[in-house]
Amino acid sequence: MSVSLFQFCQWLNDTTFSTALRESTLMFPIVESVHTLAITLVVGTVAMVDLRLLGFVLRKEPVSKVAGQILPLTWIGFAVMLISGLMLFAAEAAKCYHNPAFRLKLILLVLVGLNPLIFHFTIFKSVDRWDEVPRTPGRARLAAVLSLSLWSGIIVAGRAIAYFN
């Protein structure tokens, strides 16, 4: 017996936990607010690293040091986003399945994850050679621009979910 993705979403939507969250007076607003405000922890911090790669800020700090100091914060933010995001998804799973903005957000999230992965295993491997140069390599700057664009797109798609409900 195969369960379709939609059936899974409907099942998740109807669980006691999801229903309670969806009908809650306080929990849903709190989870939604945490999810929105944690944007600062994820996108805000990543933006600082991207701005370093583009040569706008923290210029005298080695790129590897900037990444090493800031990315742990990003990971904490991402954990918060993931947990709150899963909760919000569960509460509205049936609606989310059909929602084009939600689907786009997921695609962008995959891409925004692939970007640093590729970056890390290619140009970043030679970071010792460009850690402290005035102008970082083109590929590093491209990764930074893609990161900023994709995260902005994720914020936009996330907000647009409500418009397609």
């Binding site: 607010s33 405000l37 600062t40 996108v43 805000g44 933006a47 923290l58 040091k65 936009v156 418009y163």
Partner: protein, 158 residues
């Protein structure tokens, strides 16, 4: 002119009417507001966490403050403009909204404290005195901006 009169006046401007008439303007403005929030958050976090010795410990704080200053200014400008535009949606309702009032009350102290922190750090040399006062200022700054953010979220729920 009382504050309420100011809100009523703004409500009747062509700009406010145009914002309300448009099917997409509010949505786009709000999305830009969120992107501005992300940028402001990044700057505020890095500067305050440096003061608290959590990140870039021992690294030149004056440079960090000076280089991040334009991004603080730009994000605040974007947030202010988009914020004012969003108020036009239901101007008088905002005036009476407790969360909106709280957000406005916290915004100026948060902003002035950040400006003060940036100016002090920029002029204090590479290793500013990171004593208790500096750490308290950093905590206060984080708390104030968090307050602004939370109040902003609550506006829609009241």
């Amino acid at each position: 002119m009382s504050l309420l009169h100011l809100f009523h006046w703004y409500d009747h401007t062509t700009l406010a009417a145009a914002m309300r008439k448009s099917t997409w303007a509010f949505a786009v403005v709000e999305m830009i507001h969120l992107i501005g929030l992300a940028l402001l958050g990044g700057v505020v976090l890095i500067v305050n966490l440096r003061l608290l010795g959590v990140v870039f410990r021992g690294r030149a704080a004056d440079r960090i403050a000076r280089e991040l200053w334009p991004f603080l200014a730009a994000s605040v400008a974007v947030l202010t403009v988009t914020g004012v535009l969003m108020v036009s949606e239901e101007t008088v309702k905002c005036y009476y909204n407790t969360a909106f009032r709280l957000k406005m009350l916290l915004f100026l102290p948060a902003l002035f404290l950040s400006i003060g922190i940036h100016r002090r750090l920029a002029g204090a040399g590479a290793q500013p005195d990171s004593g208790t006062a500096a750490k308290l200022a950093a905590c206060a700054s984080l708390a104030l901006w968090l307050g602004v953010g939370v109040a902003g979220r609550v506006i829609g729920y009241l």
